[in-house]
């Protein structure tokens, strides 16, 4: 031990004498980082921070270098989405005048994704749906003319905002149907308890021009769909509690429903009781037509249980391409996931401990595990 000590001492001493020859380090100047050009392997990680729920935040994370690039404040029980051009993050959230109590202010905040600085806000009526993050808490029209915000008081409606002029244009009642699923420049669909979609078409001023109720496309009693739909090329895709896939084509004036199909064989469904589950229950690579679903074995009441495997399904053939068990990587149940949209895609998977695993989305090879990237990571958005 003593020799070790002396050894170390001499070593450092020698180093010091030796290096005195080098010039001193230059003076530094404190600056503020800007973000480089966006990368498809970046991801917006929505941390609901349930244990400190007024302090939700969004982390911008680099899935190639496994580094945090920056952070966006997200308030209480936020909805988060991006503008169609990816240039703006919108945070629909609720603040209280005294931190966790006092006067409630609902607001949409606009963040410049190049600087992560606030560029403005729109104050809402205190009706914003306080619920878990999905693509449909707030959403832009395809041309960015309108921004829609889901309201639940518990009466349901939605707000139509003008993001360019930072103004509220109006509120449209949805007769018990919920969330804002945007399509085209002026259509908003909401999901109804009857298994139908209510579609409201807006006029140039963002007021209601017409509304139509679709036929039922699912049964809320026997096999409800998760509200966490994912964007497809023609609209959105919804997975049901029992593993049915409902593809909704919103490219026309009214929704069109493809024939639902199952990601489960009869045995997997009825004997083995495999089920989708979590807070975000699907991710889709639109170019490859590959659907990624966190699956677990369970039944009634387990629809929020995380996946012990990720199943990869070809949305054209409906065939399962792969099963990726997570126990092999010592990963806990996966409650949220996302896949990048480039040709060398990576998949992000958040466990119920909010460890975020990064996989090669083609091979399922685990590339990295980022420990506790947040407190309760329940949603990811691609840049």
């Amino acid at each position: 031990m003593r020799t070790g000590l002396i050894g170390a001492g001499l070593l450092c001493l020698f180093g010091a004498l030796n290096l005195r020859a080098t010039p001193p380090l230059p003076t530094e100047h404190l600056t503020v980082e800007k973000l480089g050009p966006k990368n498809p392997h970046w991801v917006y990680v929505v941390d609901e921070a349930f244990f400190n729920e007024i302090d939700a935040r969004v982390h911008l994370f680099d899935g190639d270098h496994y580094r945090e690039l920056g952070q966006i404040d997200a308030g209480f029980n936020p909805g988060v989405n991006l503008s169609p051009d990816g240039g703006t993050t919108v945070i629909g959230t609720t603040y209280f005048s005294r931190g966790a109590h006092g006067t409630r202010t609902d607001v949409v905040e606009f963040v410049d994704n190049a600087t992560l600085g606030l560029t403005g806000e729109i104050v809402l009526p205190p009706k914003r749906a306080n619920t878990l993050p999905t693509y449909f808490n707030l959403a832009y029209s395809a041309d960015s003319r309108f921004l829609y915000v889901s309201y639940v008081t518990p009466a349901s409606s939605f707000g139509v905002l003008d993001p360019a002029n930072k103004a509220v244009l109006g509120e449209i009642d949805t007769a018990g149907c919920v969330l804002v699923i945007p399509s085209g420049p002026n259509r908003v669909s909401s999901i109804c308890e009857s298994g139908r979609l209510l579609t409201v078409t807006l006029d140039a001023n963002g007021h209601e021009a017409s509304r139509a109720l679709s036929e039922p496309f699912f049964d809320a009693d026997t096999d409800p769909i998760f509200v966490q739909g994912v964007p497809t090329n023609e609209g959105y895709l919804f997975v049901s509690f029992l593993g049915q896939v409902h593809e909704v084509d919103l490219s026309g004036p009214q929704p069109a429903f493809r024939q639902p199909w199952s990601i489960l064989s009869a045995t997997e469904k009825d004997q083995e009781h495999w089920r989708p589950g979590g807070q975000t229950v699907a991710a889709l690579h639109r170019g490859l037509g590959r659907l990624y679903v966190p699956m677990h074995r369970g039944g009634e009441g387990t629809h929020k249980a995380g996946g012990t495997e990720i199943w990869v399904i070809d949305t054209k053939t409906h065939a399962r391409v792969a099963r990726w068990p997570l126990a092999a990587h010592k990963l806990g149940p996966v409650v949220a996931l996302q896949v990048s949209q480039d040709s060398a895609p990576i998949m992000f998977a958040a466990t119920d401990k909010s460890d975020v695993a990064v996989f090669d989305a083609l091979t399922g090879r685990l590339r990295h595990v980022e420990k506790q990237l947040g407190q309760t990571v329940w949603f990811f958005l691609n840049p």
């Binding site: 349930f50 400190n52 029980n77 109590h101 009441g301 119920d352």
Partner: protein
């Protein structure tokens, strides 16, 4: 009894240990499907076989105290609760902690009491107006439905209509017996 209470409370207090709680829940629902009367025990979710084994090998006493313990996520009345148990926050299974306000609006569920075999209708209220309690996080979802069936949904903040709309913790209040 005391020791088991703490076990549950500790496991939910610690962010790092939330998994154990969640895995209980995943298991729970599955086993209800598989065998409605099989005792529900904290077990690995990776396969029914393992689950059953773990179940069989675990102590019935611990299970019994859990389903009768309002500070445990396994308490029978909590079959579709989602949030922090007010019992661990200064309240009880049917009272709000000091200084908080009950949510006037709520949603209704049905839970079976294994002690008398009856199904009880319960009201899941939130207690509101203070910041997240953070103790005994519990997420169970028996017969819970997505947001479009709001009266059966536990994903929304039921403090939404309170003067102080912040969510603190959740209770489960017996409204009566469900007769079928």
């Amino acid at each position: 009894m005391r020791s088991i209470d703490r076990l549950f409370e500790d496991s939910s207090r610690s962010l790092a240990r939330r998994t154990s709680r969640r895995s209980v829940l995943a298991t729970l629902g599955r086993m209800l499907t598989g065998a409605a009367l099989l005792p529900l025990l904290p077990i690995d979710r990776s396969s029914r076989g393992e689950a059953a084994e773990a179940g069989a090998s675990a102590s019935k006493g611990a299970h019994q105290s859990a389903i009768d313990n309002p500070e445990s996520c396994e308490y029978w009345k909590y079959c579709a609760i989602d949030g922090f148990l007010c019992s661990c926050c200064g309240g009880s299974s049917h009272s709000c902690p000091p200084g908080t306000a009950p949510s006037p609006i709520t949603w209704i569920g049905t839970c079976r009491n294994p002690n008398d075999g009856r199904d009880y209708i319960v009201s899941y209220n939130d207690c509101c107006g203070k910041t997240s309690c953070g103790n005994c996080e519990c997420n169970r979802n028996e017969r819970e439905k997505p947001m479009y069936r709001l009266s059966r949904n536990n994903d929304v903040n039921w403090c939404m209509a309170n003067a102080d709309a912040n969510y603190h913790c959740s209770v489960s209040v017996i409204l009566g017996v469900s007769e079928q």
